[in-house]
């Protein structure tokens, strides 16, 4: 009788061990897992003097430079970038207002996004800071991810030939990603 009860106990225990269950869980929730990191990176910076204008020619009013920026057209970026905040900090000691223009172009030089920032005039003794935040939301972010280069134009309304000063730019971008499982 004792042996029988022990065997029943053993059998029951083994059955229980092999019939352990997982409950009150919903593994379909894994489809909802979403990584949403916000990554801040420095963008462009420069220091622009009047010689950058005059080296091109007398009374030249526009200077330009271009950089590729393939980060925007990486598959990872195209698939996951949902928003981008560009922050531009212009410090101007020229005594005239300048316009800065950022054009995001694709390989055919088609413009997909453009940012224009009027920069307030300052002075050598009192440089003036002009800040600009450009928030590119979900509806237009697709344009940004088609551009592989950025053209920067700095436009003066009048000649800088006889003006001293510096236009300093600092900038950063916060990239908002959404990574699904």
């Amino acid at each position: 009788m004792k042996k029988k009860s022990h065997l029943i106990f053993l059998f029951t225990a083994v059955i229980l061990l092999f019939t352990a269950c997982v409950k009150d869980t919903d593994f379909d929730q894994s489809d909802d897992i979403l990584l949403t990191p916000a990554i801040v990176l420095d963008f462009l910076f420069f220091n622009l003097g009047s010689e950058n204008f005059t080296d091109i020619g007398v009374n030249n009013l526009v200077v330009s430079d271009t950089t590729f920026f393939d980060l925007l057209i990486e598959d990872f970026t195209i698939d996951n970038l949902i928003k981008a905040d560009f922050y531009f900090k212009n410090t101007n000691s020229f005594s005239i207002q300048l316009n800065t223009q950022y054009q995001f172009l694709d390989e055919n030089n088609d413009v997909y996004y453009e940012i224009i920032i009027p920069v307030n005039s300052g002075s050598l003794s009192n440089p003036v800071i002009t800040e600009h935040i450009e928030i590119i939301e979900e509806g237009t972010i697709v344009n940004l991810t088609k551009a592989d280069k950025v053209v920067v134009n700095v436009i003066a309304p009048s000649s800088l030939d006889n003006l001293d000063g510096i236009l300093n730019l600092q900038s950063k971008t916060i990239y908002y990603l959404s990574l699904e499982q």
Binding site: L10, K23, D24, Q29, P37, V152, V154, Q170
Partner: protein
């Protein structure tokens, strides 16, 4: 080059000291042996699976709840520490045998296959991946938290056990390791931080400092050349039979019967190393870099001139700042040393091996049919030793049925309840051991689960 790779979840707190099962000898080669011969049923004498995490359960993440799963994950990321870990362990005994000679030496040997995996939780990198760096200006993300290893190996072992007097039983086991594949990344360092620019050139400095990431592999890259799963299996099987990277080790153990009531035992396992000489490919990435964006120079270009390759130069600079070396040097991998110690108090019904008395017969050394005791377990891990403490109660209910219940505090939990059942019916020995029983009604809530079972044939001439 030395490093220690951890085998985790190896604490078999229930099986330790269960002298009715031959597998107890693998946990203490100096355990007391009361039978003449044993044979493990090939491939069925010891099956062990374990998976766990020290800081999070499946339920913590996937519970049915109104709280969004991403919030639960986020909460856990900040709750876990970089010393928390995820493990998986599996063992399959292929062969196990033993016999006692005329001089009362008990010889035993066998083969088992083992897989182990451990990943320490890289908290800083998890935060970086989950939230990014935008809200963490000034925080140093520790790249050295990367710590992962995995091993697949076969172990050949042969041991001898001897009761040298009435009180002391000692044993030693030699081991030959045949590594089928191995990978580890355990010696890493470096930081990544975003801080306000010190030079003032741009807004931030994104600085990677003193980064060194090592990945060591053995037996893995050669598998990538194979086309079919059959080829991979055949290759691994070849390595399991001495065709892989070999190593040697030793287990030592002893049992001391202090008096009729008290018994102490201790063992030290896997004192050894694997010498990786074949199919090695290790990688090391090191360097440092300070990123502050792209500086435009506005050069006076003529018509048709290309702009300066700012972006390409940046990528090239980053590439040049980090050297990536592929290393084929042999290396030594220390085995994780494990230690057990136990003291127990015996009580209850007196039993013994004397045929003249109506006693339980399975263990001539078992003076009483019940015992309570304390066990200690430790294992050397990459981030230091980890310790488990166990209280246990053992009861031999009859001459063919014993139970052992345990309560363990370890890295996974402070309330791990385990149970082992052992039967000896005729010559057939069967045991089954599991822990975290309190969660068996819902395993999702357990931070670790472990199950061991097996069949042996045990021959005792006294029966």
């Amino acid at each position: 080059m030395f490093w220690i790779v951890s085998l985790l979840s190896q604490n078999k707190e229930v099986l330790y000291g269960l002298e009715e099962t031959p597998q107890a000898m693998l946990l203490n080669p100096g355990s007391r042996i009361s039978y003449e011969y044993h044979f493990g049923v090939p491939l069925l004498s010891h099956i062990h699976v374990n998976g766990g995490s020290s800081g999070v359960s499946v339920y913590d993440i996937f519970q049915e709840s109104s709280l969004d799963i991403n919030t639960r994950i986020s909460n856990k990321i900040f709750e876990l520490e970089n010393t928390d870990f995820f493990t998986a362990t599996q063992q399959l005994e292929i062969l196990n045998f033993g016999w006692k000679n005329k001089k009362n030496y008990y010889f035993s040997g066998g083969i088992y296959q083992e897989f182990d995996f451990i990943l320490y939780f890289p908290k800083d990198l998890a935060i970086l991946a989950w939230e990014g760096n935008a809200n963490y200006i000034g925080k140093e993300f520790n790249l050295g938290e990367i710590n992962v290893s995995g091993d697949l190996l076969t172990v050949y072992h042969f041991g001898v056990n001897k009761k040298i007097n009435k009180k002391i039983t000692v044993g030693v086991r030699a081991k030959l390791y045949s590594s089928m594949l191995s990978f580890s990344s355990t010696s890493n360092s470096g930081t990544f931080v975003t801080i306000p620019s010190e030079s003032g050139d741009n807004i931030y400095d994104h600085i990677v400092s003193n980064a060194t990431i090592n990945v060591n592999t053995s037996g893995i890259t050669s598998l990538s050349d194979l086309d079919t799963r059959t080829q991979v299996i055949n290759k691994l099987l070849g390595r399991s039979f001495f065709g892989g990277n070999l190593g040697i080790g030793v287990d030592l153990g002893a049992t001391y019967e202090i008096n009729e009531k008290w018994t102490a035992s201790a063992s030290i396992l896997d004192l050894g190393a694997i010498f990786h000489k074949k199919n090695i490919e290790s990688y090391q990435v090191s360097g440092e870099y300070n990123l502050d964006g792209i500086e435009l120079l506005f050069p006076p270009l003529g018509n048709g001139d290309s702009s300066l390759p700012y972006y390409e130069d940046l990528i090239d600079d980053i590439g040049a700042a980090f050297t990536i070396d592929t290393i084929y040097n042999s290396y030594i991998q220390m085995r994780p040393v494990k230690m057990y110690a136990s003291v127990k108090y015996n009580f209850g019904q007196a039993i013994g091996g004397d045929k003249t008395c109506n006693c339980l017969k399975m263990g001539e050394n078992q003076k009483y049919n019940q015992s309570i005791g304390f066990q200690y377990f430790s294992i050397i891990r990459p981030k230091g030793p980890q310790i488990a403490a166990t209280l246990f109660y053992y009861h031999r209910l009859s001459d063919y049925f014993s139970v052992k219940a345990t309560y363990t505090a370890d890295s996974y939990s402070y309330s791990n309840v385990g149970l082992g059942l052992i039967t000896n019916i005729k010559m057939v020995n069967f045991y089954i051991v599991a822990d975290n029983l309190q969660w068996y009604s819902n395993l999702a809530k357990a931070k670790s689960v472990s199950l061991q079972f097996g069949f042996n044939i045990i021959i005792d001439k006294n029966e």
